[in-house]
């Protein structure tokens, strides 16, 4: 069976995301009171991004960032989403031209972050995604991932978040049990909120990941990533995010021949904007435009690729 390279799609933002811990928002569910809409106008209560609602004296009082309180074991977080994208570069087995295609991406993810020691939290999660294309030559595939690790917040370093975790990921085409690619790796990273005000949020993250096993072996790699993300909160439930992610993938395999043979190294970037609306606490609707680029040292640019992705998605979050 011939199966196409997945790079064009894998570089799309639907898959190339930052490897970061799961959210800690789940701690907050029971620790923040829901404001009574009979007493406050619902549209002025900023429950969406963790600040007290704006009031005229905020410049005198200061920024009122609300802290969550850990109250026992947190619930398991379940995310379900369904996204529709258009891409100008879908994967296909026999492609002579760019394969433009619509695609549907479905996702189910579970995650849990219990406190395991003073200041330390476990971070475990599992997810499955399905990608289906309407273009005949494009290849449908599935993605499975699981991770387990720890994270810690460092208040003495201005709430720097550090984490480490083991990750497993697997690709299959058509059958969950028929793995086409799998990898085990360990990842370390840190995140820092640089600007956080009721309307502006700027964050940066760095991480390094090291494969200790990959199938196939020549796909084994190390990864070094920098993330930048800026969000402008247009309204309590409407936000726009611009983001950039740059990664160096340092493969254990080599490219070229003879005197020009060297380790393969790719630099890939994803840049995009996303508009997100939260119609209610557990749902989101978003639309996004992303551009991704992969620049490899493979001779003749054989592993270079550019992908535009435009999409609309809906998602829901549940806790139990």
């Amino acid at each position: 069976m011939r199966i196409p390279v997945l790079l064009p799609l894998l570089l799309s933002p639907s898959l190339v995301l930052a490897d970061v811990p799961s959210a800690m928002e789940r701690f907050l569910g029971s620790s923040r009171p829901d404001y009574d809409p009979a007493q406050l106008e619902a549209d002025t209560v900023d429950s969406g991004h963790d600040f007290a609602p704006f009031s005229p004296a905020d410049s005198d009082l200061g920024v009122q960032q609300i802290l969550g309180e850990y109250k026992g074991l947190p619930p398991v977080h379940v995310e379900v989403s369904s996204d529709f994208y258009w891409t100008d570069n879908a994967p296909s087995p026999t492609r002579a031209t760019d394969e433009k295609s619509w695609l549907w991406a479905g996702r189910v993810a579970l995650s849990w972050q219990p406190k395991i020691a003073a200041g330390w939290f476990a971070d475990v999660g599992v997810e499955e995604q399905w990608f289906r294309f309407d273009q005949g030559d494009a290849t449908d595939f599935e993605y499975f991932a699981a991770h387990a690790g720890v994270l810690k917040m460092l208040p003495s370093l201005d709430d720097l978040l550090v984490y480490g975790r083991l990750e497993f990921q697997m690709l299959s085409t058509g059958s969950f049990g028929d793995s086409d690619y799998s990898a085990n790796r360990i990842r370390f990273g840190a995140q820092k909120v640089l600007v956080n005000t009721p309307h502006h949020h700027l964050s940066a993250g760095v991480s390094s990941a090291f494969d200790f096993d990959a199938d196939r072996e020549n796909l084994q790699r190390n990864e070094y990533t920098l993330d930048l993300s800026y969000t402008y909160f247009i309204a309590d439930s409407l936000s726009a995010t611009a983001s950039w992610r740059g990664s160096i993938w340092d493969f254990n395999s080599s490219v070229g021949a003879g005197a020009f043979r060297e380790d393969r190294r790719d630099f890939n970037q994803v840049v995009g904007v996303e508009l997100t609306w939260l119609p209610c606490k557990n749902a989101r609707i978003s639309t996004s435009v992303f551009f991704s680029d992969n620049d490899s040292n493979t001779p003749l640019g054989a592993n270079d690729s550019q992908v535009w992705t435009v999409g609309l998605g809906v998602g829901a979050v549940f806790e139990f």
């Binding site: 790079l7 898959l15 930052a18 970061v20 959210a23 907050l28 404001y35 309180e69 993605y143 690619y181």
Partner: protein
């Protein structure tokens, strides 16, 4: 009947406990931009540093104006912009008709009350900030110590310890539970409590605030308090909120068996076979 009597007694004790020696007079110790004094029975005049304020006097700040009053018992009142504040000599009641205030009452002074049209805060030796915006907002923040907030004419005050805040509508029928706020961030950005405009509070108050900060930091250190928005938003964030669950996948290298490549529109592409 017994419950009513007990509640009434507790309320009396609460108010009584909040009162020590009466506030007699204050001096203007800071006046930035347009600060006006409205002595009862006299015409308004601009406030200047060193002015004495006594009797039933109202102090009003304009846009981008701030003021600080220091009472004879070292109770400090700082007013934010667009605020209207008054006190009556001989009592320990202050009235905030509009705007924001920082009030620092030394612990030995018995306390004070901040009255608004709809709610009252009872303070006993503590440092607090209070905003009252008629028809819109009430915000009450305790920097150190504890204060109590109750709706005028109602009993059952709500305690607000250091590092916590109450947000409510001025016409609310009940006082909501306080939320915990990041004191370090608040103090770092506050004109009233920060050291940039007004300078530090009394050494004792500063020490107590530092203690509250340390306590909150310890709680964050051991995971009891969690800063929200700790997780960055990034490309394709799936929930549209604050987190990313991500992964990266490598492209198979082109020299693998079965790889082919072509060049299309100037963009070389790898087509690869995975067995």
């Amino acid at each position: 009947m017994k419950t009513v009597s007990t509640t009434a007694l507790l309320s009396l004790l609460l108010l009584a406990g909040a009162h020590g020696d009466p506030l007699k007079s204050a001096k203007i110790t800071q006046a930035v931009n347009d600060v006006q004094l409205f002595p009862e029975g006299s015409s308004a005049r601009a406030a200047a540093v060193g002015d004495s304020v006594s009797g039933s006097t109202s102090v009003q700040t304009g846009r981008r104006a701030r003021a600080e009053l220091t009472f004879t018992d070292n109770t400090v009142t700082r007013l934010g912009q667009n605020s209207v504040f008054s006190f009556r000599s001989g009592g320990r009641d202050m009235e905030l008709s509009q705007g924001s205030i920082l009030l620092q009452v030394p612990k030995t002074n018995g306390g004070a009350t901040i009255r608004t049209a709809t709610v009252t805060a009872a303070i006993t030796g503590t440092t607090v900030m209070f905003e009252y915006s008629a028809g819109k907002w009430i915000k009450l923040i305790t920097l150190e110590g504890t204060q109590k907030l109750f709706i005028n004419g109602h009993k059952n005050p709500v305690s607000v310890p250091a590092g916590q805040m109450i947000i409510m509508h001025p016409d609310g029928k009940t006082v909501p539970a306080p939320v915990i706020i990041d004191l370090a961030r608040l103090l770092g950005t506050s004109a009233l409590a920060g050291k940039g405009l007004f300078g530090p509070l009394s050494p004792k108050a500063e020490a107590l605030i530092k203690e509250a900060l340390e306590q909150q930091k310890d709680q964050k250190d051991n995971g009891g308090l969690i800063p929200t928005f700790a997780i960055i938003t990034g490309p394709g964030s799936r929930n549209g909120q604050n987190w990313i669950i991500g992964k990266t996948l490598p492209e198979p290298p082109m020299h693998d068996a079965g790889s082919i490549w072509n060049v299309n529109q100037g963009q070389p592409r790898c087509l690869h076979t995975i067995k």
